[in-house]
């Protein structure tokens, strides 16, 4: 049974996305926050819980509180990489159910594109990686992809299928950064960076922000939007550096997924739409396996022939994902936002029919932390 039954997600929003040179990271956080609060019919005066983390600000909830003029009763700035924001949604829900706050604002913003194109990175250099020219993070993911191909026969074309499916979904999302058609050969033949990964196996580097508001199930009744409920949640980590990943072809999503399914009382076959943190194409293949959508090793054949693209057997990353929609450094919150919008049936051309249960999975570090959340438009039993 979900421990979050008394809580609802009542608003989601993005800031301006893509290339936003006239705003800084805090501006983007605040812009997304205002949009989310307006969507719910709330104002900043209603917010008493603040949640954020950042590669730009050392004390991000203080930055956000000061900027917006909010004096919170409760704050959390969990830092577990790109998955942090899925984690923060659950931490906020927990704070609300425990009475520590009533209206929780979760906000993110990053100008990593405008700042120079490199991934905003606060990672400390690692003595046992840096001297060998590890191109962080792509080479760590490349080591995983190479091992997956070796153990299971996963092919170059199967990696490309992930990026092509994302692009097809993005073509139906007016907010997506890349919408022009893409072929398997385009991906396979794009600039080779770290074998087997090419440039188009890598997520975008964009500016952008996002915000999400949670409150009590009771208070949600008086707000503008259909409330969305958290049925299940789980998180774990297997390593910090790729050197210490116990098994390169199995991520902590196996553990976080089991926890989330158990809390929700559902399994993979009950999920209507899946949002996975696709920092690199290989991620989607790994997470589909680890979250039980196919047996270990069969992720490559699972995604083949457009199976996760529009009209395929399982809708994955219906916003276009980090590969084609946006990726401002920490993508985690965007997986939850798309899950919420699908459950509210707001997705227009890309809307999934009869969408009742969504799964969002955040990834942090180099496949290091995994956070799984199961959402529904029906209140948990």
């Amino acid at each position: 049974m979900s421990i979050f039954n008394d809580v609802a997600i009542v608003a989601v929003a993005e800031s301006d996305l893509g290339i936003v040179p006239h705003l800084n990271s805090a501006d983007l956080m605040a812009q997304a926050s205002i949009r989310a609060l307006k969507e719910a019919g709330l104002s900043k005066h209603d917010v008493d819980g603040l949640f954020s983390t950042s590669a730009h600000y050392s004390m991000p909830t203080l930055t956000l509180a000061e900027y917006m003029g909010i004096t919170p009763k409760y704050m959390d700035a969990t830092s577990i990489g790109g998955s942090s924001f899925v984690s923060l949604v659950a931490h906020a829900a927990q704070a609300i159910s425990n009475g520590l706050c009533e209206v929780a604002l979760i906000a993110y913003g990053s100008t990593q594109r405008t700042d120079g194109g490199g991934l905003a990175n606060i990672s400390e250099p690692f003595n046992h990686e840096a001297p060998y020219g590890n191109f962080d993070p792509i080479s760590s993911y490349a080591l995983v992809a190479q091992r997956h191909m070796y153990e299971f026969g996963t092919t170059r074309n199967q990696l490309s299928e992930v990026a092509v499916a994302a692009r097809k979904w993005a073509s139906m999302n007016s907010k997506a950064f890349k919408r022009e058609p893409l072929t398997l050969d385009d991906v396979s033949n794009s600039t080779l960076i770290s074998t087997p990964l090419t440039k188009l196996d890598c997520c975008l580097i964009t500016d952008g922000g996002a915000a999400l508001v949670l409150t009590t199930k009771e208070k949600a009744k008086s707000l503008n939007k259909e409330p969305i409920y958290i049925w299940g949640y789980g998180e774990s980590t297997t390593h910090r550096s790729i050197v210490s990943m116990p098994n390169l072809v199995e991520t902590a999503a196996k553990l976080s997924g089991l926890s989330a399914y158990e809390m929700a009382g559902v399994g993979p076959s009950d999920i209507d739409v899946v949002q996975l943190y696709d920092a690199f194409s290989i991620n989607v293949i790994l997470f589909l396996e680890d979250l039980g959508f196919c047996p270990k090793g069969e992720g490559g054949s699972f995604v083949a022939n457009g199976a996760i693209a529009p009209g395929g057997r399982l809708p994955v990353n219906t916003n276009g994902g980090g590969l084609s929609y946006c990726h401002p450094g920490m993508y985690g919150l965007f997986t939850v936002i798309e899950g919420v919008r699908q459950l509210r049936k707001e997705c227009g051309e890309r809307q999934i029919d009869n969408c009742r249960i969504a799964l969002a999975n955040g990834n942090g570090g180099v496949l290091s932390s995994q956070v799984t959340m199961i959402l529904s438009n029906e209140a948990g039993a």
Partner: protein
């Protein structure tokens, strides 16, 4: 010519490992309780939790667990040396893996499962790096 690639900044337990390299020894910790190989150096065994662990000289042999050939790189000193091979080598006798470069062979001859052995590359007066070459290789 000055060496312009990233160097380690060892502090604490790891200093023993880096000093060993300087003397052309690959010192890998082994747990006296569960026999687990431990890499990178720590003050306890991450497998069983025991603190009775010690540095032992390793043969420097193992096999390639995974690798990637960098055709583009933004790492200082490496960006002008592409293509180069970054690998995870699984050391014989346990589960420890270490990151390294495979040297002394063309990147396109590297394969997962290939047997490799350590070579000690003095990169500065202070630091020696453990690189690996194919066993019986060039």
């Amino acid at each position: 010519m000055t060496y312009n690639k990233p160097l380690p900044n060892p502090k604490g337990i790891s200093e023993t490992y880096w000093k060993g390299l300087k003397e052309k020894k690959l010192l890998i910790q082994v747990c006296n309780h569960c026999q687990e190989q431990i890499f990178y150096p720590r003050i306890l065994c991450p497998n069983c939790g025991d603190e009775d662990i010690e540095f032992k000289e390793h043969t420097g042999e193992g096999e390639i667990y995974s690798y990637t050939v960098l055709h583009k790189s933004i790492v200082k000193g490496f960006s002008e040396e592409t293509p180069y091979t970054l690998a995870l080598v699984k050391l014989d006798g346990g589960n420890a893996k270490m990151m390294t470069n495979i040297v002394g062979c063309s990147p396109d001859t590297v394969e997962i499962g290939m047997r490799v052995s350590v070579v000690f590359t003095d990169v500065t007066d202070e630091f020696t790096l453990p690189h690996f070459i194919p066993v019986g290789g060039q």
